[in-house]
Symmetry: C2
């Protein structure tokens, strides 16, 4: 025991003396390994191109889980397993369809000539179908909830079109998303409250293209569940203008429905700690994606970065002091059941989680790490800035976490962190068919893994 104590003292002294050098050297080794021999990009290619969409309950989900657990093993996990959880099983159920009927003035007479135009739409996640005949109704344009309230007597039997614009003036695009997101989440029920039979929402995006962006809606059980779709931005602009010119009637067919809950899994890989195996550091992203895209940035990126950190630590022969868990969470998009299950089991087993970090903001160039914890923990986190900043996360900021690790923070008070990549391109592709492998840059993806690995290395070495 005395020998151990002396060894510890000696260790601490050495640590103080050479810590900065050793740490920066280790982080450089990690970075070089990822940037030179990285597998994240090719793994992402496989996930997106060979498996593709993987919404909870889908066959893509099953394939992705198997891919994930196999890859965790091949990447050097001491053990890797599937943690079962029940997941919702929403299906789109068919092809979404929307056609606008309107009229234009004839050139020589005062007659109006009827016209039709297909609209590029996508049914919102969790939304109900229109029934096989679809719905057909004139469209009431509202640019905000305030306008809905003002027009509440006009929407009965109609389709409400929320044309609330993504606010371009926010520098972080997540602020614009939070601002506009309420129309997708609460819009359908708020319109149904006044008797609307369908809803169209302007996509939550500032893209220059016309791809519609899906995402979960939430029905308020007090009102009728009505079909709800998102519309591409160019079509939204057109629809808004045309409603004001001639009025527009839209035929909408959607087929969304919930099948019974089914079995899904978190995919977990682990490197066992050599000194403090009971102290667990979790790093992860979510494995599910919407069904209309490859889910490359959301959140294939977070998954392959997670596995890349595992592969790299193993490739470098790094022996963690603490246990590091690499988790691909199930069902972030429309249920959060994976994150809930992970926290539930951690609590039930009395596990000690010292940090959870998530990458779920796209595989873009890293700019910051966010952190949620006590002031002392935050101070320690901040002290590592000189070691991490050279790799891209030049800012260590207060506030950070992720949808999937939130339950762990709430249940066990686990400090949580997030990789905050640049936000400018994210909502161009978020939940849209353009969220594909080709939109991901290899080095940006890899650097995200580098910065998270650096933080994990430091927390593993020094605790929090």
């Amino acid at each position: 025991m005395r020998k151990l104590f002396l060894a510890m003292i000696a260790g601490l002294l050495l640590q103080t003396a050479g810590a900065q050098t050793t740490d920066s050297a280790w982080i450089k080794k990690i970075s070089d390994e990822i940037l030179t021999n990285g597998k994240a990009y090719e793994n992402l290619r496989h996930l997106t191109k060979k498996i593709g969409a993987r919404l909870a309950g889908s066959s893509g989900m099953v394939k992705a889980e198997q891919w994930g657990v196999d890859l965790m093993k091949r990447s050097g996990a001491d053990q890797a397993w599937l943690q079962e959880c029940m997941v919702p099983h929403w299906i789109r159920g068919g092809t979404d369809f929307a056609q606008a009927s309107y009229s234009v003035p004839a050139s020589k007479t005062k007659n109006m000539i009827p016209q039709k135009k297909g609209l590029d739409i996508v049914a919102l996640g969790n939304s109900v179908g229109s029934g096989p005949k679809g719905i057909n109704a004139s469209v009431v344009l509202v640019n905000s909830f305030e306008e809905l309230e003002a027009k509440k007597d006009q929407v009965k039997g109609k389709i409400v079109f929320y044309n609330y614009k993504f606010n371009d003036t926010y520098i972080s695009t997540f602020n614009a998303y939070r601002d506009a997101g309420q129309y997708r989440g609460a819009g359908p029920s708020r319109a149904a409250k006044y008797g609307a039979i369908g809803v169209i929402v302007r996509s939550m995006s500032h893209a220059v293209d016309n791809n519609p962006h899906t995402g979960a809606t939430r029905y308020d059980s007090a009102y009728a569940k009505i079909p709800a779709v998102a519309i591409g931005l160019r079509d939204a602009d057109w629809l808004s203008e045309q409603i004001q010119k001639s009025g527009v009637t839209v035929t909408l067919k959607t087929n969304g429905t919930f099948l019974p809950d089914t079995i899904g899994h978190n995919v977990i890989g682990e490197l066992k700690g050599s000194e403090f195996p009971d102290q667990i550091i979790t790093v992860g992203g979510h494995l599910d994606s919407w069904d209309n895209c490859e889910g490359a940035h959301d959140d294939g990126a977070g998954c392959v970065q997670t596995i890349e950190i595992l592969r790299t630590l193993k490739a470098l022969g790094y022996t963690p002091k603490r246990t590091i868990r690499f988790v691909l969470f199930a069902n972030e998009e429309n249920g959060l059941r994976g994150g809930a299950k992970y926290a539930e089991e951690a609590a039930a087993k009395g596990e000690k989680h010292i940090l959870a970090i998530e990458s779920d903001a796209g595989g873009f160039t890293p700019r910051a790490l966010g952190f949620t914890g006590s002031d002392e923990q935050y101070a320690k986190f901040l002290s590592w800035k000189p070691l991490i900043a050279p790799y891209g996360c030049t800012e260590l900021v207060k506030g950070g976490g992720g949808a999937d690790i939130g339950p762990l923070n709430r249940t066990l008070k686990t400090p949580m962190a997030s990789l905050n990549p640049d936000t400018q391109r994210y909502f161009d592709i978020h939940h849209a068919r353009s969220d594909v492998f080709e939109a991901v840059n290899k080095r940006e993806l890899e650097l995200g893994a580098v910065n998270m690995a650096a933080l994990i290395y430091l927390v593993d070495k020094y605790g929090l």
Copy 2:
């Protein structure tokens, strides 16, 4: 005079009291205008898609100059003009061609079967043509100048292939560019010194595609000028392997030549200063591009950002105290004649330039502003960080400038600054056919203009 003095004192007091608020409010107005009503993106579309490539001396150059001066006027310049300078006139002269001849073992016998493979190459800028028959010679692989020296007795009459790799471990890709760039610049003459008759250089890039990247080479007049091309990365990997397997002979045809110097122009727009019209702030990018691409990031982005700042200040009714010059420089890529001319005329006229800032690192998301000046000036620059950082340039760093404003700094000791966008994607497309409009993100482009405009606003208001 006394009245003026009192007014100045009053002005200073007001400035101290409300400065931060006023400044942050002004910068927010600038940002909102650019992000909401910005024209940079559509201007870039016109420049890249309607005009396209615009190497010095080309018809594209002439069209771009006219576009630039017209747009300066339409964007609100008090005056806009063309500043004449002689520019070099290198032309590619035809289609670059390269074909490899090699052999593979027959499956059943020991015979070797001859094979041919086209290589994706592009002649280096300023390079000489091969003559109509081309050159045909076996290829000597060297991975560095050290290897060239070791093999110097083997290269006579041969083609030297510099397969020096872009170093992936640098976080800033410009470091990798500086490191590898010497092979493009000095490689041909160093090979010619030992009798080589042609040179192939691995493209200065870490792209995942096979597009070759051109750029200027510099012949040493002591040695023969020999044809020189860059090769795409996948073909470079193949060529390197195949040389080691069977040896490779390459037929190379290039047609580069210099025509007599011709007339080009810097495009200059100006907002006259209301208080200190003799103090000049210059902001610019370069209008020329290589002939094999649209020059969207290099440097169409810098040009449209420059004009966007002019448009925005005018749209907001901002009255500058100092004179602001908006400059699209001529001939950055293979001569720097525009930058030299601008400095020369400034010196000849005894102009007082207080700051020059350039955007020539791509239209990517802004991360930093770089600055070169005295310590006092740098301290003043640094003090503005809280005002600028919210818009993306979270770091104000020492060292900054640009190729086109370098002469002004050298001649008149003008402090200089640079917009430093994220570097990860730049060398994917730099000088390659993939440097097109579609590779530019609208908001990233606009935010670059916002951050430069913020600095210009502050220097205009407070001097340097």
